[in-house]
């Protein structure tokens, strides 16, 4: 259950709008149901009273929206702990003006995954309320179904890497700690496979890709003005994969491109309409970077140099990495 309430966030926004600290607010807007929340820009407390929502379905990360936002004065943005890592990473890359943003850190008790809920409760879910450790799922045909909240959190929240905010102007509630996360367990399982098994795993997953580019377009690390895959002059533009090679190429190139910059926010897997576990590609890179260069968390500090764009005498020799891969390289 979230410790900071919707009312507290509206009051905070109203205070900052009133005293002129900010002119607008990035916040989550309620939809038709409790779980179809849309990121939106609010301009007054009255607008927020009407439509603002803060519940277990506010997974959308606002950091990337700061790049596009060009309004007058400062914008208020609410950041969950994981969002603050993307925020810092984008600052490191000089993608938005820190002076134009007022960041309020808010604690997060994890976000629920509506897909998991619908798999359990069936279709026809008209709303979901949180009551303590339980989710009360309202359905069209089966009445109310009570689920254990912890079981229906998004994967990224079940293995949450940090409840600690690494960036904010002001913090609401208590700050948490960096967690001893189990987020690499699934990667370890993939590593334990033979090369053929692993190839088959990714072939199967990526064969479902429809090249909607949602993973790229939502990714805070994918902030190029013009993506090479969307540029007709690049020679490699493709709007659809014509074969299994192209299915893999887009995702693997993208994973390489964000390696060392990906904070593991998990938005890619959240938005994939085909339910491809894309975050596992990025986590493999993070795990390898940790192993080869020492632990590194993108976005933990503004201005940190990622191992892949830095050089130290202690850097691993490329040949060692190949040796480590062995027969699976």
């Amino acid at each position: 259950m979230q410790t900071v309430t919707k009312e507290m966030l509206i009051a905070k926004a109203a205070e900052l709008l009133d005293n002129g600290s900010v002119t607008r607010v990035f916040g989550w807007q309620k939809g038709e149901f409790d779980y179809d929340v849309t990121p939106a820009l609010f301009h007054s407390a009255a607008e927020m009273e009407k439509d603002f929502v803060w519940n277990d379905f506010c997974g959308a990360n606002f950091s990337k929206y700061l790049i596009k936002d060009k309004g007058e004065g400062k914008v208020l943005v609410f950041l969950k702990p994981c969002d603050t890592y993307s925020f810092n990473q984008l600052l490191t890359e000089h993608r938005f003006d820190r002076e134009k943003v007022y960041a309020v850190g808010i604690p997060c008790d994890g976000m629920a995954d509506i897909r998991l809920i619908k798999e359990e409760a069936g279709e026809g879910v008209t709303g979901v309320d949180t009551e303590g450790d339980e989710l009360v799922v309202h359905t069209l045909y089966d009445g109310d179904i009570r689920l254990n909240r912890g079981d229906f959190l998004a994967e990224r929240c079940k293995v949450c890497k940090s409840k600690k905010h690494v960036a904010y102007d002001e913090l609401m509630g208590d700050d948490g700690e960096i967690a001893d996360s189990a987020r690499f367990d699934e990667v370890a399982k993939l590593e334990a496979m033979s090369a053929d098994e692993r190839f088959a795993f990714w072939q199967n997953e990526l064969s479902r890709c429809i090249r909607c580019n949602a993973c790229r377009d939502v990714c805070p690390a994918c902030s190029c003005e013009k993506c090479v895959f969307g540029n007709p002059k690049s020679g490699v533009e493709n709007k659809a994969a014509s074969d299994s090679f192209e299915e893999k190429m887009f995702h693997i190139i993208r994973a390489f491109h964000v390696a060392g910059r990906c904070t593991d926010c998990g938005e890619c897997s959240r938005v994939c309409p085909q339910h491809i576990p894309l975050h596992l590609l990025n986590r493999k890179f993070i795990k390898d970077i940790d192993t080869f260069y020492g632990e590194y968390q993108a976005g933990a500090e503004v201005g940190s140099r990622a191992p892949l764009v830095d050089y130290t005498e202690g850097d691993i020799e490329p040949s060692k990495a190949v040796e480590r891969g062995g027969a699976n390289a």
């Binding site: 939809g31 038709e32 149901f33 179809d36 929340v37 849309t38 990121p39 939106a40 820009l41 959308a60 929206y65 798999e119 069936g122 279709e123 026809g124 879910v125 008209t126 069209l140 045909y141 199967n204 479902r208 429809i210 090249r211 909607c212 580019n213 949602a214 790229r216 377009d217 939502v218 013009k226 969307g230 540029n231 007709p232 533009e237 709007k239 659809a240 994969a241 014509s242 959240r270 938005v271 309409p273 085909q274 339910h275 491809i276």
Partner: protein, 342 residues
């Protein structure tokens, strides 16, 4: 009308598969429903609808249209089309059946898209009434009847039987081939299911959504509405809505030099993409709001204007549950259509 007891559904499907290749919705590895070739004993998906729409069968995401080869000054053109074999799609929902009509209006009007026509001519559509419509459904908004779908053959299921009736010549041919596994029944046999479905449709959260403020001739009423700015603000510009949509029909054609000849390749395109309909002078929708507006104006105004008032949204709800930011046609219709002067 004919019927078959549910216990014999596998035999019914086997009889269909004996007629031609049969595709049915089954749960894939990701627990989402997907049309797959029927295999004996296949467990059909309990999901209301498939993750991807059924349009893939007639308008696939990618296809090679032809191949060219140059040798000296000689140019050879190879037609890569093959006569499609007959196939049956079982379990198509009313919304998706209507989407075929929307696509037919585009691809079967002159000049006919022979690639599409080839597949369409060989496909038999067996539809299935929606016993449990979902919270994201709004087919009634567009006068689609999930209790009594269109299709070559229409099916209803209750707790005991599956009822079948033919609506077209193709459908009659298929039903005739199923005589050994079905028995005749009264035309009112499925009325109980129809009543139940109608009751449920009436109670859906989006049951009151109306499209009557939209349609042909409404370009001026909506084109310059300031609400497009706020509606499109959060859109990340991906193509999810267009690619899961059962009626989106835009495509791109490009020639690729493979080094061993040139492939003329066609694939789905999305009006959300920045290079959509790029022309020599550039693009006519340079900003994101314009691209966003195009998608909804096309469904709600431009298409009906050119197609006797038929909307090119069928209310299947796929975009509602797939959009990364949960912005969708329902929210657009409520915002624009909810105004007094609309």
């Amino acid at each position: 009308m004919r019927k078959c007891v549910l216990a014999d559904k596998n035999a019914l499907l086997a009889a269909m598969a004996a007629v031609s290749r049969l595709y049915v919705p089954v749960d894939g590895a990701d627990k989402q429903a997907v049309f797959s070739e029927w295999k004996d004993g296949a467990v059909l998906s309990g999901k209301l609808n498939t993750n991807r729409s059924a349009k893939d069968f007639f308008f696939p995401q990618t296809e090679n249209m032809m191949t060219f080869k140059m040798s000296g000054k000689k140019l050879e053109i190879f037609d890569t089309r093959r006569e499609h074999e007959d196939f049956i799609l079982f379990g198509v929902r009313a919304c998706d059946v209507r989407s075929f009509t929307v696509l037919d209006n585009v691809f079967l009007s002159e000049p006919v898209d022979t690639y599409y026509a080839n597949r369409r001519a060989h496909g038999t559509v067996v539809s299935l009434a929606c016993n449990k419509p979902a919270e994201t459904c709004f087919c009634r908004t567009f006068d689609i009847d999930a209790a009594d779908p269109e299709g070559d053959v229409v099916c209803w299921e209750d707790s005991e039987n599956i009822y079948l009736t033919a609506k077209t010549e193709k459908g009659e041919k298929l039903l005739a081939a199923l005589e050994n596994v079905t028995e005749a029944c009264g035309d009112d046999a499925a009325d109980g299911v129809k009543t139940l479905v109608n009751e449920r449709l009436g109670k859906l959260p989006l049951a009151e959504l109306k499209a009557d403020k939209f349609g042909g001739g409404k370009t001026d009423a909506f084109f310059n509405d300031p609400a497009w700015d706020s509606l499109s603000e959060a859109c990340i510009g991906c193509g999810t809505c267009t690619f899961v949509c059962s009626t989106c029909q835009c495509y791109d054609i490009k020639d690729f030099d493979t080094g061993h000849g040139i492939h003329r390749f066609r694939c789905w395109d999305s009006c959300m993409y920045s290079d959509f309909t790029m022309m020599a002078h550039g693009t006519n929708r340079p900003n994101h709001m314009q691209r966003f507006r195009q998608r909804f104006m096309h469904k709600l105004v431009y298409y009906p204007e050119n197609n006797n008032g038929l909307f090119s949204c069928v209310g299947c709800g796929r975009c509602l549950s797939r959009c990364p930011i949960s912005m969708n046609i329902v929210k657009v219709m409520k915002t624009l259509g909810g105004k007094e002067d609309a």
